[in-house]
Subunit: 368 residues, 2 copies
């Protein structure tokens, strides 16, 4: 099981410690995403060196390939991927919503077609828990219906009620001591978010997540939902904003009291050649780097910055070399994890607002 | 400059030491190929850990992208790619022959169009040396006309004469103390191979390579050319069979007295999922590995074999994950480098023929 306590606050920003069976996680924390039982382009030893203590992996993807029976037979996901740290698995709800070729929501669950081969599948709350138990993650998520954007109030209400019902069934289906987090839905309606949370609180979970954001809504709406919902979440449980995000989104959400984040941004941007640095974003392919003998970020201690020049990183990227993906991914993850470390220090030292101001100036759109 | 001496022989197989400005290389040696200033999917630290002391890089590719002026401005290829070991650069002759979209052989050199963007270029012996001097490799190769297969005797003779003339100009153009190897051509004609070599010997080089093999000829012809030419090469210079090859080809060539090899096979096969093991070749995607909790090769100490199961490697490969390319490449390079280490030990201990027999049984077509 897990245990969470807040160790310090600065405004609504919280410093905390999440104890898991696989180590203590300092929060606010960013979880690198390892969709197919690997954080793309990096290996577990590198993640550990970068300071990652928890990653996210995807139930939907692992259920389809290689199948949870395979991973169970390997002794679980940690052993399968050789990752000694903690793992949070999502429930598949978001991917059924965003990836599956076809989906039909039924009372008992969702029928959908695989995005890989079109094969027909059914995920139910019970099945989602069973899969996550086979994976053996440290934190499981309830199976939700991820309310799309836009959704009218009627739809959002029906959707959150279904999510509540499924959350109840998820909790009842659990047979292990893996932690289980509930997911607050309710679309972009504040009163529905509150209602969703109240219903989840009545059931009781080990942590609470805000779902149904990063689904195509304007950033202002994501911020509104986060700002309205976060203060309502119980203080003694960790709070997780799913699928977020950009370092500036993380700053905003930490300001509201969020503790946990996941996002493909650092690794996906890396593969596209967009790199985060202490001086702002850098597009590595730009011709201005052709002859550069400078490191990508002189303030970064990652292997890409320690051992190579911008000219080399540009060359690798343009030549589509795998090492470009490796070094860029390492760098962006180093940036994110270092950013979170600095953010935690700032809360500890009561200077979070100054920290946030600095990064808003550095990474704001005008610095892009 | 370099220095080579034979330390032991076993039949015609030779053990030797090649002293370079960047360390001593034990021969027979396999040089991993780093076409674009990176051995695909692995980083220099990993190469060093695997025991690689020398790699090959490609003048043609680096000339086109990023350009030798870029690499010269970075302090040379070693610093550019952060590789502390030795580097041999080919001259571009083979790539102009095999990759360029169009080529026109002139007395002064070759006019060709880039395979990247169709732009028009001219490589001459002088230019090929100038580029290799900009790269700063430890061993340069003369610019040759790689005789195609099949080629009639007339063509092969004219071609080798041009190669001789170009080799003379390469030597005259050299302005540094980088080593320079001559390349024996002559097509599949034994007397022309002898003639090519005699002409090169008259000019005098730091080492001698057999070129114009691995150009589509039947394996028996490659073996014949190797068997006929190798014993003629001077005993006190290192002997390099270009672009070879399969471990069985290496065995054959070492038996004839070859000291140096390069080939994309370990890394390319890795990316295609064909892995070399102590028990034979393994196709990692095969369904028989789906549930396997075995390592790929229990006798291998590489990270892929130490940390992961066949089931995981299969999963990564089918999911087209970058980590699959990394682990498979590491493994196949570990296999090759370990194979060469064992081969050297076998020569040192006077049991090369037993060693060769063992591997012919293990890797022969029937074991595939």
């Amino acid at each position: 099981m897990i245990d969470f306590r807040v160790t310090k606050t600065d405004g609504r920003a919280r410093r905390g410690v999440l104890r898991t069976p696989r180590g203590e996680i300092q929060t606010p924390v960013f979880m690198p995403v390892g969709t197919h039982a690997t954080v793309k382009a990096v290996c577990p030893e590198e993640l550990t060196e970068l300071g990652a203590g928890i990653i996210l992996s995807n139930t939907y993807h692992l259920y389809l390939r290689p199948g949870e029976d395979v991973i169970k037979g390997q002794g679980g996901l940690h052993r399968f991927m050789n990752w000694p740290g903690a793992i949070l698995t999502d429930s598949g709800g978001f991917q059924v919503f965003s990836l599956a070729r076809f989906r039909k929501i039924r009372d008992d669950g969702v029928e959908f077609r695989s995005h890989l081969d079109g094969s027909l599948h059914v995920l139910t709350p019970e099945r989602a828990i069973r899969i996550q138990e086979s994976l053996g993650s440290d934190i499981m998520m309830t199976f939700d219906e991820c309310t799309p954007y836009p959704a009218d109030e009627d739809y959002a209400l029906k959707s959150l009620s279904l999510t509540t019902e499924w959350a109840r069934r998820c909790k009842a289906a659990r047979t292990t001591d893996q932690a289980l987090f509930g997911i607050v839905q309710g679309g972009m309606y504040s009163h529905l978010r509150r209602r969703s949370l109240d219903e989840l609180l009545e059931i009781g979970f080990d942590g609470y997540a805000i779902g149904g954001v990063s689904v195509g809504e304007p950033k202002a709406l994501m911020q509104e939902v986060t700002a309205v919902t976060t203060p309502l979440l119980p203080e003694d449980r960790s709070r997780y904003l799913m699928g977020v995000g950009d370092p500036l989104d993380i700053l905003f959400a930490v300001e509201q009291g969020i503790d946990m984040f996941d996002c493909v941004m650092p690794t996906r941007n890396a593969r596209n050649g967009t790199l985060f640095t202490s001086r702002g974003r850098v597009s590595v392919k730009r011709s201005e780097h052709t002859y550069s003998t400078e490191p990508l970020d002189p303030e970064c201690a990652c292997p890409a910055c320690r051992n190579y020049t911008r000219a080399y990183l540009r060359h690798l990227f343009l030549a589509r070399e795998i090492l470009a993906m490796r070094l860029n991914s390492l760098h962006n993850l180093a940036f994110y994890l270092n950013f979170m470390q600095q953010l935690r220090d700032a809360i500890d030292e009561g200077r979070f607002s100054r920290f946030a101001k600095h990064w808003r100036e550095t990474l704001g759109p005008e610095a892009d």
